[in-house]
Every structure is written in C-alpha cells, then in structure tokens.
C-alpha cells in the first residue's frame, strides 16, 4: 500500500528530508504499481524479505513512444549485467535513468517478465493511456540470471533480504513496476515477497558528476539527454 503523504514515511534515507519524499509504497507480492516522476528524482527499490523480483519499464513521460530499449541498454555499455553506473537507455540514444546504487548485483535484462509480469503491465500501462503494443521487453531486479559459455542460462536468484537499487531519473518518467516471479526461476512455487518503493526529489546527472564522463558512450548519452531537455524546457 502507498503511504500518503509520502513525507510521512517513517524512515527517510540518510540525508533526505521528509519533505523531499514524493513516493512511498510497499508493493504486495504479486502486485504492480506505477508513478510519473520528475527529472532528477531518485527512485529506491528495496527487496524487503529477499524474494522480491521487481520487473521494470520506463517511458519518457512527455512522449511515451520513447521508452526503455533493453537491447541498447546492454549493447551500448557492452555489458549484459546491470549494476552501478549502468544507464537504462531509451530508443532515442538518451538516458532514461542511471543506476546510482546497488547492493544486490543480481538482475536480469535478457529474459523479460513472462506472462505474469505482462498481465500486470497491461493494466498499469492502461492507466497511463498506454496499450499492449506500448510494452517493450522489460528488465527485472533482485533475481539474478547468468549466461554460460554455450549461451545457456544459469539461475543465481536473490542476494538476500534488504538489498536495494537506486535509480536516478534523467528525464520525466512513467515508471511501471510489477513484483512477480522471474520467468526462469526454477522453483515450482517460489514465495515472492514484498517490494518497497521510495522516491525523493533531486537533480539529474550533471557534467561535473563522475558518471557523466565515465565512458565516451555514457557522456554522449548524457549530452543527448541534456540537449533534448534544454530544447524543450
């Protein structure tokens, strides 16, 4: 359930004042939620009890036909596994969100969400005027999958209770979340557990931040993002 107003959330992250909180919610196992977040917002997802699987889709809130592109997200950094510093890229060569903190390290950008995540995305997307054909492949957090030399998938699963991932929104975003079993989880009936969602106001990545110049590809992605944003505001 959501906590309203978000500023009444009892445990703001260190250094964040309650007034800066804009989203506080615990998603029940099997549930889904969504929110429109402003550019610069920090979004922290936490696997409270160790068996959450946070399926995630992102859209540019101003033009949702620009959306998460999982292929570019893994291809541009030449890295299949999501982690700190990884950009979640749109199909327009821009950064939708940056991963700025991650103490799980067990995520997946290859297997999507399967039928359970899709069913929930269809409904939460509809509440933003989005249709099934607006649902591209999604990523998922907190349940790891690794690729072996022959291309086969190996299940890593969870890194444990309390792990969190923090994303920084680099554009205004529609965020869709579903907390359901991962599609290649080998356990017959795993007990999915709750997902905590917390967001607070902040600023987008700036040229003086180390992340901006971490790689030439990342720098050009931030330049594209800022070029778009400055022209439209």
């Amino acid at each position: 359930m959501p906590t309203l107003p978000a500023s009444s959330w009892p445990e703001p992250p260190q250094g964040v004042s309650p007034a800066e909180l804009t989203w506080a919610e615990v998603v029940a196992p099997g549930g889904a939620t969504s929110k429109v977040l402003s550019r610069g917002t920090s979004l922290r997802l936490r696997d409270l009890h160790g068996q959450a699987c946070a399926h995630l889709l992102l859209y540019n809130a101003d033009q949702p036909w620009e959306r998460l592109n999982v292929a570019d997200t893994v291809k541009i950094p030449w890295q299949a596994y999501l982690g700190v510093g990884h950009p979640l890229l749109s199909d327009q060569g821009r950064v939708l969100a940056s991963i700025v903190a991650d103490d799980s390290g067990r995520h997946d950008a290859l297997c999507g969400g399967g039928a359970p995540a899709r069913a929930r995305f269809v409904n939460v997307a509809a509440k933003h005027g989005l249709e099934p054909r607006d649902l591209p492949p999604s990523v998922s957090l907190f349940q790891g999958v690794r690729v072996q030399h022959d291309g086969s998938l190996a299940w890593l699963g969870s890194a444990g209770a309390g792990c969190a991932v923090t994303l920084r929104c680099e554009l205004p975003l529609v965020v869709l979340l579903a907390d359901v079993q991962h599609p290649v989880d080998p356990r017959p009936e795993p007990e999915v557990t709750a997902l905590e969602v917390l967001a607070w106001r902040g600023r987008a990545t700036q040229p003086e931040d180390a992340l901006w110049t971490a790689t030439p590809e990342l720098q050009r992605a931030f330049e594209n993002t800022t070029d778009y944003w400055e022209a439209r505001t």
Binding site: A71, V74, I76, L89, G93, G112, G114, A115, P137, G151
Partner: protein
C-alpha cells in the same frame, strides 16, 4: 515460390503463410540481417526476444529454436541453420544509438531502425511496434563477467538458414547498413530471400 534479392542496406518484408518456409541466404558472407516478426492478423502480437530466450533457456538462436511472441506463442521455427549461432540480444542499429556508440558524426548514416520504420509503415506499423529483434548471421558472445562483443561473423558466403512459419507471419527485414563494426565485415552486401509455400 518467390525468390528476391535484398540489395545491400535495403529493407524487405513479406507475409509467410502458416506452413510455408523462408530461406535467408547470406550471399557474400558476414552480413547481419535484422529481423522482426508479427502475427499477420493481429500485429499487437509480435516477436519477443525475452520470451524466446526464457522458453529455450539459451540466448543463442539456431536450428530447433522456436521464435515466440510476446504472448509466448510460436511464430516461426528455425528448421535448418548452416551457421550455428545467431543473436537476439543486440537489437537494431539506429541513428540515435550510433551517436552513442560511434559519435555524432555518424548520425547521418543509414541504420536498421530507419529501414524498419519505412518498411513497417507499409503494413500500418509505427515506432511503438518496434521491439528487440533478431540479428541473423551476427555473432554476439557473452563473457563470464557479462561483457558483450560483436565479433567477426561466423558466417561465410552462401550459408543459409530456413524458417518455417507456425502461423501467418509478417516479417520485416533490414539488410543491415552498419559500417562501423565487423557485423557486416565493414562492407554491407546483398542477401537472398526464398519463400516456398
């Protein structure tokens, strides 16, 4: 039977009826062929790279791979493959992603997404209908630490693969025009399509 040569860098499309086969021939070798599939009668059902990967438990496509839709249904099956491994992780090149990968001076260059948009428009498809695609003849290994590579192709002149349609399937093709990496041997070349009812 329909036999057509797709010129270097060009798009192509066709409906492959259920039961028919489509043979794709890499005429000169090392030519990436970007490929999307749709249920011809309801294009909201389309190829899903993640559903395909999850169902077969492997990221590489080869003979026996079932190309699945976003609803988990089989669209096409690879019935023969002389190459052994094809990519469905790397997606299509675009003018926009080229700016990231190679720099803003490459933005004017032709790209697969431009082909998909132009060819898809003939069938009423638009930007929202483009999703992660297949790259026939492209070799993208994943190392232990997750590092991806687009390495020299393992294809060679004249090698082919054959797909069987499980339902009436609309296929969109971009004969990849990328000239900045080895996926086309730095020299895009024609490919041949053979559709057999």
């Amino acid at each position: 039977m329909i036999e057509q040569t797709v010129p270097a860098c060009a798009p192509w499309s066709a409906v492959v009826p259920a039961g028919a086969t489509l043979r794709i021939i890499d005429l000169e070798g090392n030519q990436a062929v970007d490929f999307l599939l749709y249920n011809a009668h309801d294009t909201a059902e389309r190829y899903s790279a993640p559903d395909t990967i999850a169902a077969q438990g492997n990221v590489f496509l080869t003979a026996g791979s079932v190309l699945r839709s976003n609803l988990g249904n089989p669209l096409m099956t690879i019935v023969s493959d002389e190459v052994g491994r094809h990519d469905t992780i790397g997606g299509a090149c675009s003018k926009e992603s080229n700016t990231l990968r190679y720099g803003h001076h490459t933005k004017h260059q032709h790209a697969c997404v431009e082909n998909f948009l132009a060819e898809g428009a003939k069938w009423g498809l638009g930007k929202r209908d483009l999703v992660s695609n297949i790259n026939w003849y492209m070799n993208v290994p994943i190392e232990e630490d997750g590092t991806l590579g687009i390495v020299d192709g393992i294809s060679a002149p004249g090698l082919s693969l054959t797909l069987r349609a499980e339902i009436d399937t609309l296929v969109l093709v971009s004969n990849c025009p990328q000239i900045n990496n080895p996926c086309n041997g730095f020299n895009p070349t024609p490919v041949r399509m053979v559709l057999t009812p």
